[in-house]
């Protein structure tokens, strides 16, 4: 359990360092939903190379690491209705809110952005309530 916390701290440090490099070198916010969303709705096509390169790195490096690592699994549910419903909610919600865990959470809170703090409070609150309802009350997940 304690090694999980330590790995969390180390991994978090890598995530924060990645965001710091993106900010200090490229002058940009490392927000996953914004980087992808800009490609999906064409609002970010003018800098598609940067977005595509970041996404390529985000897919490729874990793909290389997984065969060498320990027990890296997603433990994703096999309930397809839940998966698709969740995907739709995450997609529409992050674009509506202009950010997700990386953009509002990591990049926003670290600059004391009120929007980032409020967004994080709402998605954690909604996430917690959803787990309580769907797991403990209805027993669906």
């Amino acid at each position: 359990m304690q090694s999980d916390w330590l790995l969390g701290l180390i991994g978090g440090g890598l995530i924060g360092s990645a965001a710091a490099i993106f900010l200090l070198v490229n002058g940009r916010i490392m927000g996953a939903s914004g980087l992808i969303g800009g490609l999906v709705d064409r609002s970010g096509w003018h800098d598609w190379k940067e977005r595509a390169a970041l996404i390529a790195g985000l897919v490729t490096i874990p793909a290389i690491m997984v065969p060498f690592g320990q027990d890296w699994q997603t433990h994703l549910t096999d309930n397809w209705i839940i998966i698709i419903l969740a995907g739709l909610l995450v997609g529409v919600g992050t674009r509506l809110a202009n950010g997700c865990t990386s953009g509002h959470g990591v990049c926003g809170i670290s600059r004391f952005s009120l929007r980032g703090i409020v967004a994080t409070a709402f998605y954690i609150g909604a996430g917690g309530l959803t787990v309580v309802l769907f797991k403990h009350v209805w027993g669906i997940i």
Binding site: D4, G16, I61, L76, S110
Partner: protein
């Protein structure tokens, strides 16, 4: 050059998500599950990520990015209904399966058909977002 930096940033981001356990939906849901077997890992990940980023924001003061003209504009103080409604919808989806956009992409190579289905649904939701935004703006006066 900017693209090469972006690739490296994406790689570090992916490695961090993997090592921290954030591509494991059980850990994320475990953190949200305050009435179950609560897993505090996510708080350590958030803390570990916010520290270097807070230092980076301090470094930006009075400087320019290495490969760009300017840093992103200061955050808008305005909150608005889109931020609140959007974050709530996102949180519901995040709680249901334990995936948010970063880990969904980072785990593509090992999350199987379910992970792929999640990605397609997420992209579909992103396509639908502008239409919902218009509807919300018509329904709700700006807060």
């Amino acid at each position: 050059m900017r693209s090469l930096v972006s690739f490296i940033v994406g790689g570090l981001f992916g490695a961090g998500l993997l090592i921290s356990g954030m591509t494991d939906t059980a850990k994320v849901q475990g953190w949200l599950d305050i009435f179950g077997d609560w897993d505090p890992t996510l708080a350590f990940v958030m803390g570990g990520a916010i520290i270097p980023m807070a230092v980076a924001w301090r470094v930006t003061i009075g400087r320019k990015p290495v490969l760009a003209d300017r840093f992103p504009a200061p955050p808008e103080p305005k909150l608005g209904h889109n931020l609140v409604v959007g974050s709530t919808l996102f949180g519901m989806g995040w709680g249901l399966v334990g995936l948010c956009p970063g880990p969904a992409i980072a785990s593509l190579s090992f999350s199987g058909s379910g992970g792929f289905a999640f990605l397609i649904a997420m992209l579909t939701g992103m396509i639908g977002a502008p239409a919902l935004r218009m509807r919300l703006d018509q329904m709700l006066a700006p807060v």
